[in-house]
């Protein structure tokens, strides 16, 4: 308000105020993040459960692995590769789907639940800024979930690889041929690339939008998040018979896949196929990130104004 008054009062109060051990912004962010993980245990339980399901399914199919390997030997290398790698891709896809669902449900609830259960008054009674709190919540879909998904997928695939190697070795088949077809390192790098491009950078506006609606809506945040964009699409279709808005929204759901990979079919070594430079120079990506930043800034501001409901 009044900067001059501010300055004088600071000199009154600061000597006393700075006495106890200072707590850094990073420490506050860490505790705000711990709080999110305490409150939303599905963030790690859901992917672990998905990994458990994938492993359980895979272990059941291991009985047929030796005969599958013998049959695959007759196929050409490309098909052989696909057939052997298929369960690894399926496990990764299951975990990625879990990430998507957990992330979206988390975002819709993130800034609404604390207002609904009135606990926002408790959180606001502590010296943690709205920016820190929202930053911790934002980092769940943008940092925590992708890294967790990556780590759990890696661990799952490693267990799958070791288990099938043991089975193959037990039935006297060559483990080396199997390992030649399943490159864990390459799969992991591809997965990380896919997670960071499609699921984080490309989908950023979706998470940003959900968090904004969560901070704004008094109730039914999910409906507020879904219905207005749907209404705009419908109106556009009815009035102008076009679908520009739908196309605009669609690119975030596909993660703006243009530019992700070089055109054509996947070669044996997909690593040569990645075109991160092209992806990063897509204007759509940067427009999306700018929109995300605006959504998140609005969410921080809204948290300051919003009280319990």
């Amino acid at each position: 308000m009044n900067t001059q008054a501010n300055a004088t009062s600071e000199s009154y109060f600061d000597p006393q105020a700075s006495a106890p051990a200072a707590i850094s912004a990073a420490q506050r962010l860490y505790w705000a993040l711990r709080r999110e993980l305490w409150e939303n245990r599905s963030i790690y339980i859901a992917p672990l459960a998905a990994a458990g399901v994938a492993l359980f399914g895979f272990l059941l199919t291991l009985i047929h692995l030796p005969e599958k390997m013998r049959a695959a030997a007759a196929l050409d290398p490309m098909q052989q590769h696909e057939r052997i790698e298929q369960p690894f891709d399926a496990a990764a896809a299951l975990l990625m789907g879990t990430f998507l669902i957990v992330g979206m449900f988390y975002c819709v609830e993130a800034l609404q639940r604390e207002r609904r259960d009135r606990s926002i008054l408790f959180w606001k009674s502590l010296p943690v800024s709205d920016l820190t709190t929202v930053a911790a919540k934002v980092s769940i879909p943008f940092v925590v979930l992708p890294l967790l998904t990556f780590a759990i997928t890696f661990a799952t695939q490693l267990i799958m690889l070791l288990a099938s190697s043991a089975v193959l070795a037990g039935s006297g088949l060559s483990v080396a041929t199997y390992w030649a077809q399943v490159s864990l390192l390459q799969m992991s790098l591809l997965l990380l690339y896919h997670l960071m491009t499609v699921h984080v950078l490309g989908s950023a506006p979706i998470y940003g939008w959900l968090l904004l609606v969560s901070a704004w809506a008094r109730r039914a945040a999910f409906l507020w998040a879904v219905l207005p964009p749907l209404a705009i699409c419908t109106l556009e279709k009815l009035l102008f018979n076009t679908a520009h808005f739908a196309a605009f929204l669609g690119q975030f759901f596909t993660g703006g896949t243009e530019g992700l990979y070089a055109p054509g079919t996947m070669p044996m070594d997909p690593m040569t196929h990645l075109t991160p430079g092209k992806f990063l120079s897509t204007p759509g990506l940067w427009i999306g990130l700018a929109i995300t930043a605006a959504f998140l800034a609005a969410a921080v501001r809204l948290r300051r104004y919003r009280g319990p409901m």
Partner: protein
């Protein structure tokens, strides 16, 4: 040094005026009771002080602007909005960890000490605790913070009388000292009367009465008037007259005790009676709020 200073504090929700230009000064080391009927503006005033709501006018709390500096202010200010705001999913140990993690003035050992006197287990979740235990937990957290201002908004709402008494006793015995300031807003006037150093009545967004308790005790007299002296007593312009025990009870402001003693039995009015008198004079509302 003033702990809270407000000039022309205003807040409107649409066409409803919640705070109608309040001037307020709370010195350090006081325990102020903010008393008013429902919708009088108590919570709005406290929310403005705590940086939970934007306002018009000037307001400084411990020298800071609460709205723009809430997070810094909360290093020196604690509040209990009401007992039901602790998140129900949190474990007692997690609540301790979190507050210790973010609050530079939180003394964990002290909080553990308070909790040791209760039956609350560290592993319990808030949803498993009774309402009284949740209050004890919240109070243990707050009292372990070396704050300079503590704000309580209806802190004992919905608690039974045992917990209410315990609450104010621990507040007074374990927490309060001359360097701290406490602001309590409540309906249960009688229970906090002995705790307060100052009292303020608020009605329809305005402060209608603000006195220290010493002033209240030296200025206001309540006389249970003998029936034959009623006319004489009324001539002395009481600020309020009510019936009790079949006799008229008249409330006077600033009259000499000896003079009043000739009319009947003289005593110091309770804050609740004073509240009713002031309110009915102020706005013609004789009933309500102060039970």
């Amino acid at each position: 040094m003033a702990c809270i200073e407000a000039r022309g504090l205003r807040k409107a929700f649409g066409t409803t005026i919640a705070l109608d230009g309040i001037d307020l000064r709370v010195e350090e080391g006081r325990i102020l009771g903010l008393i008013g009927p429902n919708g009088a503006g108590k919570t709005t005033a406290l929310n403005a002080i705590l940086g939970l709501t934007p306002y018009q006018g000037e307001l400084r709390v411990l020298g800071r602007d609460p709205w723009s500096e809430r997070d810094q202010l909360m290093r020196d200010v604690c509040f209990i909005a009401d007992v039901a705001v602790l998140p129900r999913w949190i474990r007692v140990s997690q609540a301790l960890d979190y507050v210790a993690g973010v609050h530079p003035r939180f003394d964990r050992a002290k909080a553990e000490g308070f909790l040791a006197k209760t039956t609350i287990r560290r592993t319990s979740k808030v949803r498993e605790l009774s309402k009284g235990m949740v209050t004890q937990l919240h109070l243990a957290l707050v009292m372990a913070i070396d704050a300079r201002l503590l704000v309580l908004d209806e802190p004992t709402l919905g608690l039974d009388i045992l917990y209410r008494k315990q609450f104010y006793d621990s507040l007074l015995n374990d927490y309060f000292d001359r360097n701290r300031t406490v602001v309590v807003a409540t309906h249960q006037v009688d229970e906090i009367q002995h705790v307060l150093t100052d009292v303020m009545f608020i009605d329809r967004g305005r402060i209608v009465f603000a006195r220290s308790m010493e002033e209240v005790e030296s200025r206001y007299r309540e006389v249970m008037v003998n029936p034959d002296k009623l006319a004489a007593a009324r001539a002395l312009k009481p600020i309020q007259e009510r019936q009790g025990f079949g006799r008229s009870i008249l409330l006077f402001d600033g009259l000499d005790r000896a003079q009043l003693a000739t009319l009947g039995e003289v005593r110091t009015p309770s804050i609740a009676d004073l509240f009713v008198a002031v309110m009915s004079n102020h706005a013609g509302r004789a009933q309500g709020a102060a039970q």
